[in-house]
């Protein structure tokens, strides 16, 4: 039960059938996203295949395949026990993924800023201002 609480982020995943994308690929992509965004921390245990399969009502082998693909890319590692853990080492793949996600967001941000007639230096100033505020908030909390 404790495991489930630790890896609640993985249990929040959703799959859709209408997309046509194979379900294991959907899981794989979402897990990768969760790791890159930090919602799954390095060293954190992924939910056991059976638990995740039951939660998502998926065939266990689908979940197993998603884990296997991640394992091949060394984003997760199997330990002596049955557990699967998010890889400790910053893998180059993870970093690339993180960059990709950030670039996506930044692109969107830039397009919107352009529409609102914000110049890029203005935008950078705004970014720094928000960052400072967020830090403040964190300290207060």
């Amino acid at each position: 039960m404790a495991q489930q609480e630790e890896t609640s982020a993985a249990l929040m995943m959703r799959v859709v059938q209408s997309a046509g994308t194979p379900l294991y690929l959907q899981l794989y992509n979402q897990l990768k996203y969760l790791m890159a965004s930090g919602r799954l921390q390095p060293g954190e245990e992924l939910p056991p295949i059976r638990v995740l399969a039951e939660k998502l009502v998926l065939n266990p082998s689908t979940v197993a395949r998603a884990y296997r693909e991640l394992e091949i890319e060394r984003l997760v590692e199997k330990r002596s026990t049955n557990g699967t853990f998010v890889a400790e080492a910053e893998s180059p793949f993870a970093e690339a993924e993180q960059r990709r996600i950030l670039i996506d967001r930044i692109d969107t941000l830039l397009v919107e800023a352009k529409q609102f007639r914000f110049t890029t230096p203005n935008l950078i100033a705004l970014l720094e201002e928000r960052d400072a505020l967020l830090r403040e908030g964190e300290r207060v909390r």
């Binding site: 799959v15 059938q17 209408s18 997309a19 046509g20 994308t21 194979p22 379900l23 294991y24 295949i49 059976r50 399969a53 039951e54 009502v57 998926l58 065939n59 266990p60 082998s61 395949r65």
Partner: protein, 297 residues
Amino acid sequence: MTDILRVEHLSRKFGEKLALNDVSLTLKKGKVLGLIGENGAGKTTLIKHILGLLTAQEGSVHVFGLNPVQDPATVLANIGYLAEEDGLPSWMRVHELQRYFQGFYANWDQAYAEDLREKFRIDRRARIGQLSKGQRARVGLMAALAYRPELLLLDEPSSGLDPIVRREILTSIVRAVANENRTVLFSSHLLSEIEMVADEVAMIRDGEILFCDELDAVKQSHRRVTLSFDETRSAPPNVPDAFCWEGGGREWRCLYSGRTTTIDAAAALVGARIVEQDWLTLDEIFLARSGGEVSHS
């Protein structure tokens, strides 16, 4: 891994009508096989053969290595069966059903049965005939699971049921496979369900197995491909294994079943390039395969 189920060259005629034609199928322990096909394609006939409710006219059926007609007592003791038409006697009460089933199955787990019953919120005293369709399906599910059968056979189990009951049925399948390494064969017309829980998919049409493969392989080998041509054309190009053409002018879209490399080569051959490739859902594959030839001609 042993074969839980082995069907070899099974054929069956009802009068003049050929209901099953040279059907072969194997199912290994711990696997979930989804059986898809239109109504009247022969799914139920196949399942009845597995249960021994029909005798093979040609070919053979072996369940746990036994002939279900010759040895019904052993075979049926290890099969849990849930059908669209529940077929439970309406006069029986739920507790009577439990007791009746308990007499047959040595591993009937009354605690588990009660657990399921409570989870499904069914009154033990209730008469089966007075329950709603969804509740009856739950009772059937309880009866099929409580002795932890080796093989679960589900014939259109979710037909006409609400999403909650459907999900309960699917969850039971996943649990049986994941926790107890049971084997499952189920037919459904809700292909999204099959896509979620099946390892393997068999598609049956007019009594014949069109394909029977791992779900991943089926998904891999079916794609929607958009081809772009340099000049406009009035008819789709002739590409092997491509069907359901649509479009016009310079862009044509087709469904394709085959390897990626082959379509690349084929596209090059007709002077087109592939501008888009999409996965197909099982629904689309099913539609394509069951109507493909018709629209192609």
